[in-house]
């Protein structure tokens, strides 16, 4: 555990330095994102026949596939930002302050990827504005997809506002050390700043955080996104009241995992051991464990209800799900992660940041394939499951698979770019760490995290 004191120079390091690794990573991400853009252009030119999708029914395929699965996954990851920010701002969990802004950026980047997937998924993305906005006043009354667009947009706007407001404080104070070529950006971001506003902004941010923390779990991943599926009686694999809570737990596990990975990367790249301490990772890991537990518990609910004495169609769908290798893999990964996390709380020596990273990747992978199979399974076993001679067949095409690489590249690029423009660790966090708040002591860990979990 580092004992050196965090400084402004620490958090300015990403902005003012570039390395070979940075350029390599930047190049790789550009390549991935660019390759998918080319794939998407090809899809636009040729039509969506380039995907592995088809019509369910006599079309022998599935209508929604990886694009929608990945869309849900990214929205889930985007939750990380708000969970952390909320923990810091609303619940006073200051220990996570150093990773709060990274988490907020993850929200922005994750939502961007999700929004991009909506476009990629459309047959006529050019009509998004005219067709959707043009009839919004009618469709918002009944279409879950419009609810979705509404809530995601609101979430994005709120988070962006939140981020913009908190950046003003930092940029104003660090302006002299920030690169001059971005001056116009800083000018815009700090337009009309006065020190008097700090207090006001603080309060605004608190209310924003409150609004988002209510909206995100209750309306977004515990609401409109699962409702896309849960409200459709024609698809017994989806039609269930447990989808809301289930989606939320899946989202939260992937969100925490995302934050762990991003934090780990920045800590390693910029020697931020003394800022993003092991303590932060331990805390995050515990949260991850808690959400994994909820995740598995809700899966259990659905399986028991779906397998015990369910209506024929539900039983068929659930049986197909629980015996599917992808579903089993996902559950095993999450369960293994849960076991590890609980084990390391009992025996702290089992904790390493590397293992935390592995656990995070495992959960992210598990949630991705779980979402994929969730979407696909609905079409494979509909209520009207008579089309046995034209059964649903699907495997993502090369372009669809490329979209995963592309959006991961895109999200990484957002981090790479933003970290060159603004500090990705709050000045508040440095100030806070420099104060006499003792952190990084093993003994305090468990006692500190337990109440948080309950909260």
């Amino acid at each position: 555990m580092s004992t050196k004191s965090p400084t402004e120079a620490d958090i300015l390091r990403p902005v003012n330095n570039v390395s070979k690794q940075y350029f390599i990573l930047f190049g790789l991400c550009t390549l991935a994102f660019g390759a998918f853009l080319v794939g998407w252009m090809y899809q636009l030119a040729e039509g969506m026949a380039v995907t592995g999708l088809s019509d369910w029914g006599s079309g022998g395929g599935v209508t929604w596939g990886l694009y929608i699965g990945a869309f849900i996954w990214w929205v889930g990851i985007a939750h990380g930002g708000i969970i952390l920010s909320a923990a810091v701002r609303l619940l006073g969990m200051d220990r996570y302050m150093p990773v709060a802004r990274l988490a907020e950026l993850l929200t922005i980047a994750g939502l961007s990827a999700a929004g991009f997937y909506i476009l990629v998924h459309m047959g006529r993305p050019d009509r998004m504005v005219t067709s959707v906005l043009g009839h919004y006043h009618i469709t918002v009354n009944n279409s879950p997809l419009v609810w979705d667009v509404t809530v995601i947009t609101a979430y994005f706007v709120l988070t962006a506002t939140y981020l913009a407001l908190t950046l003003r404080y930092d940029i104003t104070r660090l302006r002299d050390d920030l690169p001059g070529y971005f001056s116009p950006v800083y000018d815009v971001l700090t337009l009309g700043y006065t020190e008097d506003e700090d207090e006001v902004v603080e309060r605004m941010v608190w209310w924003l955080a409150l609004a988002i923390i209510i909206m995100a779990p209750l309306l977004l991943h515990g609401g409109v996104i699962p409702w896309l599926f849960a409200v459709l009686p024609g698809m017994p694999a989806w039609f269930s009241a447990v989808q809301g809570p289930q989606f939320l737990t899946i989202a939260l596990t992937s969100a925490i995992s995302g934050v762990i990975i991003v934090a780990y990367a920045f800590r390693r790249a910029y020697d931020w051991d003394h800022i993003m301490t092991d303590d932060v990772f331990r805390g995050l890991l515990l949260w991850l464990g808690f959400f994994c537990l909820l995740f598995l518990w809700l899966q259990l609910q659905q399986n028991v209800v779906g397998l015990f004495a369910a209506p024929v169609s539900t039983a068929v769908a659930q049986e197909a799900t629980i015996t599917h290798p992808i579903y089993i893999t996902a559950m095993v990964l999450v369960f293994a992660t849960l076991v590890y996390i609980f084990a390391q709380t009992i025996r702290p020596s089992l904790f390493t940041k590397g293992r935390a990273l592995v656990a995070s990747f495992a959960v992210l992978f598990a949630t991705l394939i779980e979402k994929l199979i969730f979407v696909v399974e609905g079409f494979l076993h509909p209520e009207f499951e008579i089309y046995a001679a034209t059964p649903g067949a699907y495997f993502p095409s090369a372009i669809e698979l490329l979209s995963l690489l592309g959006t991961i590249g895109m999200v990484t690029l957002i981090f790479l770019v933003v970290s060159k423009v603004v500090p990705v660790v709050e000045l508040h966090a440095v100030e806070h760490l420099r104060g006499d708040h003792g952190h990084g002591h093993e003994e305090t860990d468990e006692t500190a995290t337990e109440p948080e979990v309950k909260a």
Binding site: A49, G52, W56, G59, G123, F384, F395
Partner: protein, 606 residues
């Protein structure tokens, strides 16, 4: 002729009631005159075309005056020519189209045209709903009184895929885009005979509470106010495919790539066929018909171009699949009208089947008249002189006896059959055969046998009566029947109970035909469907397709190969570019060709 015709006129009963006290009831010509005058007014308002007007009354005027020289003749002839030329291209689709086409063609174009097997272009009565529709469509605020829908008799489906083919051809669909789909399934449910041909005919259900419409983020998927059709506005759809996800029936087909047939080709084809529009834009100027453009959703439309009268008024109330169905398994019409084909058929499927199976054509009545010329008017002589046998005559009478609404009052195929049955029976009555008499009815198994003593007087005595007297009797008989048509049903049960007692006491009074016996006759002949259901009714979608027979259970599974009576790949259809392509039962086979990096892996198979 006059009075006999009156009761059999398609609108006679209704108008008689409405105009009671205004008209001399016994004078047919005043009735016809009133009606023609009304419709003539509509012609002047532009609600009814000259051709339609001419066609509508052509038969009646011919009957009444023996010649039809009305000034509308030219328009009528022109319309006839147009429809025959325009449809020539699609003739092959309707080869062997069965009685319906022959009947109608005979009616309208004579034997020469029949030889080329022209499809079943509606009839005189088909023009009626078009007026209603176009009027409602104009202001686009339906009162909910109109809802196109179908009654599909699954036990009559022989799996020939004519409907699938006709639909693909009509709409220029890509291969595998089977808006209409027929599948054969195995039913693991105990007690189901293994040999039974379980077939499901699956068009869009045009649900009253369509989930696809509800979830659409753009209102592209909508219900047309005027007639309840659930359609996709191809100009608005963003291709999110949520409608397909929400539909419990799997009737949607996304246009994953550029469609094979261009809009220019479709428009040109529509032009060649003499359509008023381009077969894509409906009466509200929204692009909802024919195959979808790339990136939008499509499904069975129930042919809005036809319903809007843009394919000619005689095709209003028809769909491509319904026209093409040889056994009349598909009955299309207004679900809110109890005299419509689907409602008449579904309310008594055995009767509907009988009408279809007998397929009495109008020409039959004519030939009957010739056959009967100079023959005696007792049952035996009549049967001997004509192609009719006792069974057939019994069935014809049974369809009349069991009619729940006025025979021929509707405007579809079934109504046409009813009309022709009535014409046939009328010829027999005119000839002197008393179809209301106890003797004849009992002979045909439609009434209890009369007492032997009375019977002794027998046929001969009555036969001895001269023609005029017979006609006189007949007239009375008809009037009675009119009065009793409704009471047949209501009195059904009473009649049974009373029968025995009454006969003893009141030997002279004959209660009329036995409705139950008539129904039994129909059921024995055509069978009774094992069920009457709507698909997935518990989904709350309120589908507008009624199915008769073959209700698939929850474990029913489509059988391999998908082709039912015939394999999909053995059927080809011609599209606007003139080329013929085969039907494809599984669209994935077609789409996989364009998939980039198709690994052959399948998550569904793991």
């Amino acid at each position: 002729m006059s009075t006999d015709d009156e009761s059999f006129h398609p609108l006679g009963q209704e108008w008689e009631t409405e105009l009671e006290g205004m008209l001399d009831e016994t004078e047919y010509d005043s009735d016809l005159g009133m009606q023609m005058a009304q419709d003539a007014m509509r012609v002047t308002k532009g609600e009814l075309s000259e051709a339609e007007f001419h066609e509508k009354y052509h038969d009646d005027v011919m009957d009444e005056f023996g010649v039809d020289d009305r000034p509308t003749e030219a328009a009528y002839d022109q319309a006839q020519e147009e429809s025959s030329g325009a449809m020539g291209r699609m003739l092959s689709a309707f080869d062997g189209d069965g009685e319906e086409s022959r009947r109608d063609v005979m009616k309208k174009m004579g034997v020469g045209a029949a030889a080329v097997g022209l499809g079943a272009w509606g009839t005189v009565d088909d023009s009626q709903p078009s007026l209603g529709i176009s009027q409602e469509g104009d202001n686009d605020e339906g009162d909910g009184d109109f809802q196109w829908g179908m009654a599909i008799d699954l036990e009559r489906c022989d799996g020939c895929l004519s409907c699938v083919e006709a639909c693909a051809e009509e709409n220029n669909l890509d291969q595998g885009v089977n808006w209409m789909y027929v599948l054969e399934y195995d039913e693991p449910r105990a007690g189901t005979p293994e040999t039974s041909r379980n077939r499901l005919v699956r068009p869009c259900q045009h649900c009253t509470d369509a989930p696809c419409e509800k979830v659409c983020p753009t209102t592209a998927r909508h219900t047309r106010d005027s007639d309840g059709l659930v359609l996709t506005d191809y100009d608005v759809c963003i291709g999110c495919r949520y409608c397909q996800v929400a539909c419990p029936y799997g009737v949607n087909y996304f246009q994953w790539d550029e469609p094979d047939i261009t809009t220019d080709e479709i428009a040109e084809q529509a032009d060649d066929m003499g359509m008023d529009g381009d077969h894509m834009v409906d009466e509200r100027e929204r692009w909802v018909d024919s195959r979808a453009p790339r990136g939008t959703m499509s499904k069975c439309t129930m042919c809005p171009t036809r319903q809007d009268g843009l394919s000619g008024d005689d095709r209003v109330g028809t769909t491509a699949c319904q026209e093409a169905c040889p056994p009349d398994a598909i009955n299309f019409g207004n679900m809110h009208d109890e005299t419509s084909d689907p409602q008449v058929y579904a309310s008594n499927p055995s009767r509907g089947r009988t009408l279809s199976l007998l397929s009495v054509g109008e020409e039959f009545a004519e030939s009957l008249e010739e056959d009967l010329d100079g023959e005696d008017d007792d049952l035996e002589s009549v049967l001997e002189a004509t192609d009719l046998d006792e069974d057939t005559l019994g069935l014809l009478l049974a369809t009349e006896i069991t009619a729940e609404s006025e025979m021929g009052a509707g405007d579809g195929t079934i109504a046409d059959y009813e009309q022709d049955v009535m014409s046939t029976l009328e010829v027999l009555s005119d000839h002197g055969l008393d179809l209301e008499s106890e003797e004849v009815l009992s002979e045909l198994g439609l009434a209890d046998a009369p007492d032997p003593e009375e019977d002794g007087l027998g046929d001969e005595d009555e036969n001895g009566d001269d023609e005029e007297e017979e006609n006189g009797d007949d007239e009375n008989g008809d009037d009675e029947e009119e009065a009793e048509t409704d009471s047949f049903i209501q009195d059904d049960e009473d009649e049974e109970e009373d029968d025995e007692d009454d006969e003893e006491e009141d030997e002279d009074e004959f209660d009329g035909p036995d409705v139950e016996a008539a129904q039994n006759l129909l059921e024995a002949f055509a069978g009774v469907p094992s069920s009457n259901f709507r698909l997935l009714e518990d989904m709350g979608t309120n589908p507008n397709v009624i199915y008769l027979g073959n209700e698939p259970g929850p474990n029913a599974e489509q059988r391999e190969p998908t082709g039912t009576g015939v394999d999909y790949e053995n059927i080809s259809y011609q599209r606007a570019d003139g080329e013929r392509v085969e039907l494809v039962d599984n669209r994935k086979d077609v789409l996989d060709e364009k998939t980039v990096g198709d690994t052959g892996l399948n998550l569904g198979g793991w």
